[in-house]
């Protein structure tokens, strides 16, 4: 089993291949031993096929997200877990575009991705997953995830460090038992804070685990232009240009919702 000291953890890509390029370059420049992606390669952005060569050429191990599972298995929707009709309307537009523009070979590649990746870092057993170790599309938000719940996840899944994505907002918590949880955020769209950058998580274990969230600037103007050229919803473009979420908001808990604009 590999024993890394410093790893880059990339959350949902959402077809943002420009941010993926910038993130990979940044992680390499900081001397990451390995780069991992926690899934959801498609959705939201343009030209879904452009992320695959970047992942494959840079030996990035990828966990299967709900989007990858849906596209890979030809399912009828993204299994994002939205419940509001407006959220589902936009999720549908995004899913249909992504499905229609993903090659058969890439669909097959996504179908075969693992639901989790495990390895050790020092004495810590690391588990990488998409939503949570128990459910691929479970939302783990900072304000609705009790510490005792995280302790139980670590116990049930025999892990000391659990990393996930899926919500779109990064956060990190260390538990009393020297166990740790991180939501690594996403690079697909900004964090609903009025900023245009995205970000990823660097995890260093030497010998204690240290999580560092690293903001990534990328050519978001170009991404917005390509999204418009592909006739993706203007609501999505607005998020890329302005940094505020305009859709898929109803799933946000109170504390995360109130700080946004919509």
């Amino acid at each position: 089993m590999e024993n890394y000291q410093k790893i880059a953890l990339i959350g949902g890509v959402y077809s943002n291949y420009l941010a993926l390029e910038a993130t990979i370059a940044d992680a390499k420049s900081r001397g990451a031993d390995a780069i991992f992606c926690l899934g959801d390669l498609g959705a939201f952005g343009p030209h879904p096929d452009r992320v695959f060569p970047l992942l494959q050429q840079n030996n990035i191990a990828v966990v299967q997200g709900n989007y990858d599972n849906s596209i890979g298995n030809n399912l009828k929707d993204c299994q994002c877990g939205y419940t509001d009709p407006r959220d589902n309307y936009f999720a549908r537009l995004s899913y249909d575009y992504t499905y229609a523009n993903t090659s058969e070979a890439n669909k097959q590649w996504m179908k075969d991705l693992p639901a989790e990746i495990r390895f050790n870092m020092g004495k810590y057993r690391v588990l990488l997953c998409h939503g949570s170790p128990r459910k691929m599309n479970e939302f783990l938000w900072d304000s609705t995830t009790p510490t005792h719940f995280l302790e139980k996840l670590c116990e049930d899944f025999q892990a000391d460090i659990i990393c996930a994505t899926h919500t779109g907002l990064h956060w990190q918590r260390s538990l009393e038992s020297d166990r740790h949880f991180a939501n690594v955020g996403v690079i697909g769209r900004p964090e609903n804070n009025g900023e245009t950058h995205v970000g990823y998580m660097m995890l260093t274990v030497n010998p204690q685990p240290v999580f560092e969230y690293i903001p990534i600037s990328y050519d978001y103007q170009r991404l917005a232009k390509e999204m418009r050229e592909e006739s993706l919803p203007e609501e999505f473009v607005e998020t890329i240009l302005g940094g505020w979420w305009t859709t898929c908001l109803e799933i946000l808990p109170a504390k995360e919702r109130i700080t946004g604009q919509y």
Binding site: T83, D84, P85, N88, R134, W141, D142, S143, T144, T145, P146, H148, F149, E151, K152, L153, D156, E250, I251, P253, A254, K255, E256, R257, I258, Y262
Partner: protein, 306 residues
Amino acid sequence: MNNTAIPNPQTAIKHPDLHLDALDNLWFQVSGTLCNIACDHCFISCSPRNHSFELMTLAEIRPHLEASREMGVKEYYFTGGEPFMNKEMLDILELTLQYGPATVLSNGMLITEKKARRLREIEAASHYSLELRISIDGYTEEMNDAIRGEGVFKKAMKGVQLLYAHGFLPIITVTKTWEDYEDEAVLDGFLNVLKSHGYARPRIKILPSLKLGKEVARSRGYDQYEMVTEEMLVDYDCSQFICANSRVVTNRGIYVCPILIESPSAHMGDTLAEATKSYELKEQACYTCYLYGAICSNFSSGKREA
């Protein structure tokens, strides 16, 4: 004419047992069946005089919160009746928010300036979210008060305004008492009226009505064939049932879900540990849960796709 007797489906059909996947949601019947109003569609017929279940004290709730840690409970919900009839409600919330996120299902009528301010303080002191779900069943006084009682609309809207003014985004919870084709018009009606009352970013959750309690007289009860059978669960996502991930604590012990506290078969025991056994889905309200899915949680209101 064929005179073959039709078997009573209630007894002839084997109902499936549903096991608890994980106790994610712990509910408290914090005001029992006591409410300051008596809505026509209440599935447990709460009223100012219904003492079937009594108010719960902070001292009664504390050991369940403590027990919930080991079970990995994710969210705490408070319902009734009207939770703010419980004089200890704010203290109960303050304590709960040390454990995890809390949601209160209220009619909003008892929210005062002082209470809203205190709720704000309690929320700000916690790492976890405090959600307030305010029930309003029509976007006009006429529509709402026909179901919930005279003068209720104005008081509920005042509660919403006070909460919004104190930095909350209450989730307006609406029980569906209209036809499907009216969905869009009703939703637009709510959005407009809430915005015109100053609630600029309204959140709305629509619930199906449960054909129990007073709702039976208002619309109808369940048809004898409206029930859950084993065949219906083939390829069905059973996590859609509330009882796959929830239990409710009352002053009379622990029940399988907040809907069924009046069904003796739904009593699961006196401690959380006893209440983890599986439950036979034999109540007809289980059929509504089957159709609409996890109807009680904050972010689940979707009608099941065919």
